[in-house]
Symmetry: C2
Subunit: 318 residues, 2 copies
């Protein structure tokens, strides 16, 4: 390791926000040295608790995360927040909205907030989020909260990285919207019904309980349902307590280690897929893919045979 | 090519529904011979018009597609429909709902409907949809309609395969929901405001026009806005006319070929990524990934170095 890299990592681990931001930017952009940086940081990861929070747009995720962060700060625990914003794949623009509010709100160095406005990002959204999460972990944050809009496979992949997944629901959403979230429902370790002072909160709770009764097993964790009114800071202690209960449950019988290994299995495959592609593309002349694509569109070449040929050129060194 | 494969392809190309269903199932499941099948079918593709239709849950996509199919049938054109249903990544269950209605509705062999209930499917949702679309194309369908819920990157990838992308909006959706669709908005070649008899249809139209005025360019297609009430079959002719206008526009100056080449570029990269991963995993002993993942979770191994090692073992044959 170079002296520069060593000094950068030392500063990052001492909590230097500038070193931290520079590391995140380097990794997000896959700038030179990004892999070396992650390699050196890896031994310092694994200490933070990674909390994934997901819910429909307008469910009050940011406000809830904001209050959760305050609560942890009162316990003198440091927090990193990764806000994954829905981004246009074409313009790269993100819906930052209240992120700016939060940024202004926290002058506390114990809270670090980073927006990931990077759909279609290098290595995918889930990969980028995992890398940033690892950096925050290595920087000594006690909690890393990953906040994401609960739609689509991407978001499911993002929250699957977490040690604990909190699914945030609100009363009064149409049936259509609820049904879309079928996949998200199943990854919940904890449910939050936010805006629980609104009409229909009981109905949402009944629906969750009905779903749970179908899947209940004595040997499995039944996700608790926590009611909050994040805009007024109500119910946050209950959420903190539910997270603590989950931690206790997970630590028994090494469940947390099993979960981490499962998470790494998916992540490793994704990393491998991206790295193999990168390598294969590096070995091709510039513009090769565009040329092939034009030939395929003109039906002068069949893509299936082409892919077999490219893969067939690779050999394993013994 | 074996005689069996030849006879299967012949039957498929004559429109035999059983041969078609078998081909789709083979490709969806990556069953033995799936790649050979696609290779042999490829020369027979490129004739169908691929229409991607996307919109929020409850926007009335199925009803609209249903009516569009009827309209094309009246012109004696054959139709294949791929209904991409939101699926749970955990149970594999799909929200089939009105798909069953459609299936019962059409006893007409000129309409073939297939649900893709396969999130987390082999080769990804977009890949699976593209393969099925190619089969329907090769089977001689004049139109292939791909219907998908407009949320998430997955869905964007799916509709990007199409020759034409129709984005379906409805009045009265919250601002949050509209804003989520920022990425979807930009891929529209045609906008449909369905349920246009509901209050707020004018507002949706004004919003689209406002967005368009920001991005308007004389040398570019400005997506027309078609108003429909799909439940009553209103506005379908207008949509058919808008699709025809787009076709005329695209055929001028070879724009359709350029678009297809662009689509193939993304698709080829995705195919290559999947094939490289498959190959690399095939070369590893069974259980290798799970073993590595456990070591990483235990911090006995760093994943970044591991991935470099695996990629480094590959050589290119000269």
């Amino acid at each position: 390791m170079t002296a520069d890299l060593q000094s950068w990592i030392d500063r990052l681990r001492r909590g230097d926000a500038l070193a931290l931001s520079r590391a995140i930017t380097t990794v997000e952009n896959h700038a030179p040295g990004w892999r070396d940086l992650l390699k050196e940081l890896f031994p310092h990861t694994g200490r933070a608790r990674i909390i994934g929070l997901t819910g429909a747009p307008g469910a009050g995720k940011s406000t809830l995360v904001d209050h959760l962060a305050r609560q942890y700060r009162q316990e003198n625990r440091s927090v990193g927040i990764i806000a994954v914003d829905p981004t246009s794949p074409y313009t790269g623009g993100a819906i930052l909205g209240d992120r700016i509010r939060m940024q202004q709100h926290f002058s506390d160095p114990g809270v670090y907030i980073r927006s990931m406005a990077t759909r279609g990002s290098l290595g995918g959204l889930a990969g980028a989020t995992a890398d940033v999460s690892a950096i925050l972990d290595a920087s000594g944050r006690d909690f890393v909260m990953i906040e994401t809009v609960g739609v689509g496979q991407d978001e499911v992949d993002v929250v699957r990285l977490a040690d604990i997944t909190v699914v945030i629901l609100v009363p009064g959403m149409g049936d259509d919207v609820q049904s879309i979230k079928a996949g998200i429902m199943e990854i919940a370790d904890i449910f939050v019904i936010n805006k629980s002072d609104h009409p229909g909160a009981e109905r949402v709770e009944r629906e969750i309980r009905a779903l749970q009764s179908l899947a209940a097993r004595a040997d499995r964790w039944t996700p608790p349902i926590v009611k909050t009114v994040a805009s007024e800071g109500l119910g946050i202690e209950d959420l903190v307590a539910a997270i603590r209960q989950w931690e206790t449950y997970q630590q028994a019988g090494n469940r947390d280690r099993v979960r981490q290994a499962e998470n790494w299995e998916g992540r490793l495959i994704a990393m491998l897929r991206d790295a193999l592609l990168e390598e294969a593309l590096d070995r091709m002349p510039a513009g090769a893919i565009a040329g092939y694509a034009a030939e395929i569109a003109a039906h002068q070449r069949d893509p299936y045979t082409l892919v077999e040929e490219i893969v067939g050129r690779l050999e394993t060194k013994s």
